[in-house]
């Protein structure tokens, strides 16, 4: 089981809890939820538990049998190999595999059984087969190969198959069974049949049945083939499909032929479903990136009416913060992201507050001019990164729990990094919504955005609220940068790639509406990925842009327009 899985479970659980608070919770419950998030962060520490070693009870018997392999008689060696297999010792499988491959030797001086690997031009590097101890280099003449004959080879193959299948760990059995899918070695198939009769783990039994069914497609009796096809009906392993296709070519019996076609149709239907799910997943993943990039903009643009062209650069600063955090924590890559998220929030947020205090506060009520000024800031920030860090892209490592994928079925795997970023995006969105709806700051932000003069009359310090709102939007951009650093290149120009897309999302969703941003981002992401297979990535993007241009003509204020007096300006 992949190491990252518990982390995922925690994330899912905390989202469920969060949504419960979001719907029915009152007052300050979000504080508790923050606690949960902390719990979630600490929970990752427990993910790296070492795997339990299988017991080595019969180690002594194993050692004794192994020593018998030096015997010259094939009969003795065969019996010894059989006995080795029967001990069930963890060392048995590599040992028997080496024996089968002809890589197992014994040292002439003391009859120690060793694995060999070539070293230099005419020497061997030895490893003790029993203890795993390195025994140094010797000449080729100092060791002798343990030879096997054909009879022994087939016995070995059976033993290895049976031994792997008999492993007490279902995960190991499953892996062994999967490796055997498509095998037509009768000895292996027999071992599989034996194991299938006693197997009690459902996934393993299914895999074993699949091995048998694929082999049974070659049975002479039509009935057996029909039974096998029945098992393969709608099976998503590529080997099953290949075997059925091959049968389609060679089959004479019309009943079997019809069944084969039906089974293949079922497979194709399932594959289609899989690819739809995959497209949807890619779309949502792209959408979550768009939402993450745009949501900070939705605050500054929507709530404050400020067009922040430096938003992309604040994302970039978040990504560079991730890089610097990783540089500061060598060897702790798995942890660095968890540090980078708050760090990026603070760094980008600080930049945001600084920008607001020094430039933007002079430009309120002149939205088009904030656009020019912040564009200037974006140029300065880009050059700042180029001068102080590097003009080249930097390498941000992926922690181990972000790599790999979640195998939903044999034909469908969702990569963890995209999955986590999707979930992360939703969490950030939920948190932001909570901040705006349930905190004093959020109340003040909404008050100022709706009616600045009235809010000031009620005692809201609007200048402070402006600075904090802009800082919040910038901080969210920084967090988006952490997520993006896991998906794309981190370089001085990365911000520019997102700024236009982000504006599109905000405008499409309707300015001043966070839910609009979420829906718009996800819609655009999915639409993009839906069109990509037949239009190509670039054309799909162009079509989305044209669609938005036309959409704005129809609904100039986006999907969910802001209502009321504030919308009138």
């Amino acid at each position: 089981m992949p190491v990252g899985f518990p982390f995922l479970r925690f994330l899912v659980r905390s989202i469920k809890i969060m949504s419960r608070f979001g719907v029915g919770g009152s007052g300050r419950k979000w504080v508790r939820m923050l606690g949960l998030l902390l719990l979630l962060i600490t929970a990752t520490s427990s993910t790296a538990t070492p795997k339990a070693e299988p017991a080595t009870v019969l180690a002594a018997a194993f050692n004794e049998q192994v020593s018998r392999l030096t015997d010259r008689s094939f009969k003795v060696k065969e019996a010894a190999a059989q006995a080795i297999a029967e001990t069930g010792d963890a060392r048995a499988i590599p040992l028997l595999k080496a024996l089968l491959a002809g890589d197992l030797y014994y040292r002439k001086d003391d009859d120690r059984i060793v694995y060999v690997a070539p070293a230099g031009s005419r020497g061997w590097t030895l490893t003790d087969a029993l203890s795993g101890e390195a025994l140094g280099e010797v000449g080729r003449r100092d060791v002798r190969k343990i030879t096997v004959n054909n009879r022994m080879r087939s016995a070995l193959r059976t033993s290895i198959a049976a031994l792997t299948l008999a492993s007490p760990d279902p995960a190991l059995r499953l892996r062994a069974a999967r490796e055997m899918i498509g095998s037509d070695d009768p000895l292996v198939i027999n071992a599989v049949r034996t194991q299938l009769a006693v197997e009690d783990d459902k996934p393993v039994a299914d895999a074993l049945a699949l091995v048998v069914a694929i082999a049974d497609l070659k049975q002479p009796e039509a009935e057996s083939r029909l039974a096998a096809i029945e098992v393969l009906h709608g099976n998503l392993y590529p080997q099953a499909r290949n075997a059925l296709n091959a049968l389609l070519e060679s089959e004479q019996n019309s009943r079997v032929l019809a069944a084969t076609k039906a089974a293949l149709d079922a497979i194709d239907r399932k594959r289609q479903l899989n690819s739809s799910i995959e497209t949807l997943f890619f779309g949502l993943s792209l959408g979550s990136v768009l939402v993450l990039a745009a949501i900070g903009l939705a605050i500054t643009f929507g709530v404050m009416g400020v067009i922040n062209m430096a938003h992309g650069e604040l994302i970039m600063i978040g990504a560079y913060t991730t890089y610097l955090v990783q540089q500061a924590m060598p060897g702790l890559t798995d942890w660095s992201l968890l540090v980078a998220v708050p760090a990026a929030f603070l760094v980008s947020g600080a930049f945001g507050v600084a920008i607001e205090r020094t430039v933007i506060r002079f430009l309120y009520g002149r939205p088009l001019e904030t656009l020019l000024a912040t564009f200037g800031i974006s140029l300065i920030l880009q050059q700042l990164v180029r001068t102080t860090i590097s003009a080249q892209n930097v390498v941000v490592q992926n922690p181990s729990w972000m790599s790999g994928s979640l195998q939903l079925n044999p034909g469908l795997a969702l990569t963890y990094n995209r999955l986590y970023i999707l979930i992360f995006g939703l969490i950030v969105f939920a948190l932001l919504l909570l901040v705006l709806k349930r905190t004093a700051l959020g109340l003040q932000v909404r008050a100022v955005s709706q009616n600045r003069a009235m809010a000031r009359a009620m005692g809201v310090r609007s200048a402070r609220v402006d600075a904090l709102t802009f800082g919040l939007g910038a901080g969210i951009a920084g967090i988006a940068g952490v997520a993006l650093s896991q998906l794309t290149n981190v370089g001085p120009n990365m911000g520019q790639a997102y700024i236009i897309d982000s504006f599109m999302v905000v405008v499409f969703g309707g300015v001043g509406n966070l839910w609009g941003t979420l829906i718009a981002g996800m819609t655009l992401g999915v639409a993009n990925k839906l069109m990509e297979p037949w239009a190509g990535a670039v054309l799909a993007k162009i079509m989305v842009l044209v669609f938005i241009i036309l959409f704005i003509q129809k609904r100039p204020r986006g999907l969910f327009p802001q209502r009321g007096r504030a919308a009138a300006d």
Binding site: L372, I542, R557
Partner: protein, 373 residues
Amino acid sequence: MGLLQPLKGDTGGQIMLAVLAVIAILVPILNLLVPEGSPLHVSTFTVTLLGKYLTYALLAVAVDLVWGYLGILSLGHGAFFALGGYAMGMYLMRQIGDRGVYGDPVLPDFMVFLDWQQLPWFWQGFDQFWYAALMILLVPGLLAFVFGWLAFRSRVTGVYLSIITQALTYALMLAFFRNEMGFGGNNGLTDFKELLGFDLQSDGTRIGLFIASVLALALGYWACRWIVTSKLGRVAVAVRDAESRVRFIGYRVDRVKLAIWTFSAALAGMAGALYVPQVGIINPGEFSPLNSIELVFWVAIGGRATLYGAVIGAVLVNYGKTVFTGAFPEAWLFVLGGLFVLVTVFLPTGIAGLLKTLKRRRAEPKTIQEASA
């Protein structure tokens, strides 16, 4: 003198046009007649550089017309400029004929490279200069007309309009990057040989292009002045300042906007067409949204709603760019970015506004003295 009517009262513009006339006479003389060793000699490189600045200036005037007098902050004027440039580039490509690397008499090199068998329909006719010249004005104009017709009719204004103009140029950039579009993809159009039979590398042609740029700028400037001093221009300013009120009085605001917007786009296309033979290349990078924002900034630094300010801004910023990117390439973005911020915060009226203020200040003490006397 009806022709000079639009320039009445426009001191800045008169000075600018006078300077333009002087350099139009002086630069060719200094380039062609003064020997190369002389300190007064103007190299052909400089002539071309000046010509490039002038096309930028014309583009800036086009932007100022819509931003300064109509209140539309276009972040997509680079697209019209690039479309005009592409139309000119297509003519120049057809002029290469069989002198390309692959020697195909009809197909440009990149099409041979892509293994295309015949010229796409939209390349037909570009071997004729008159057709290309028509397209230089028509293509950007038509795009602007359709875009404006949709946008102004549904009353998309302000920030939203700016953002969709940006989306427009971004979409065009992505499209022109595609090889399948038939415009040379990533590399664009280049390796031009001659224009109307004149060798593009010769000094004479360069001077000719320079003078054409001067004339185009003067003509464009005059035309813009003519518009802003006409009744249409006065309605446009009213639309800029109080759109709803103008609509309630009974003017068709969308038509006013559409007319000026389309004219401005065609002007930008003309600037692009003069730009391409002088720099010798046109590629999709010209559609980049950053270019369009930068050129809005030329207008901002020069001074909005003055027209001649746009010329000053475009020439100054680009001259600064040439100097800085040569001497301190690291510092240029700091300088440009810093100027962006400083000008928008402290100098919202730009250089033209600064000049006016200085002039007024010089006038003021006199009145005070007179008053005290």
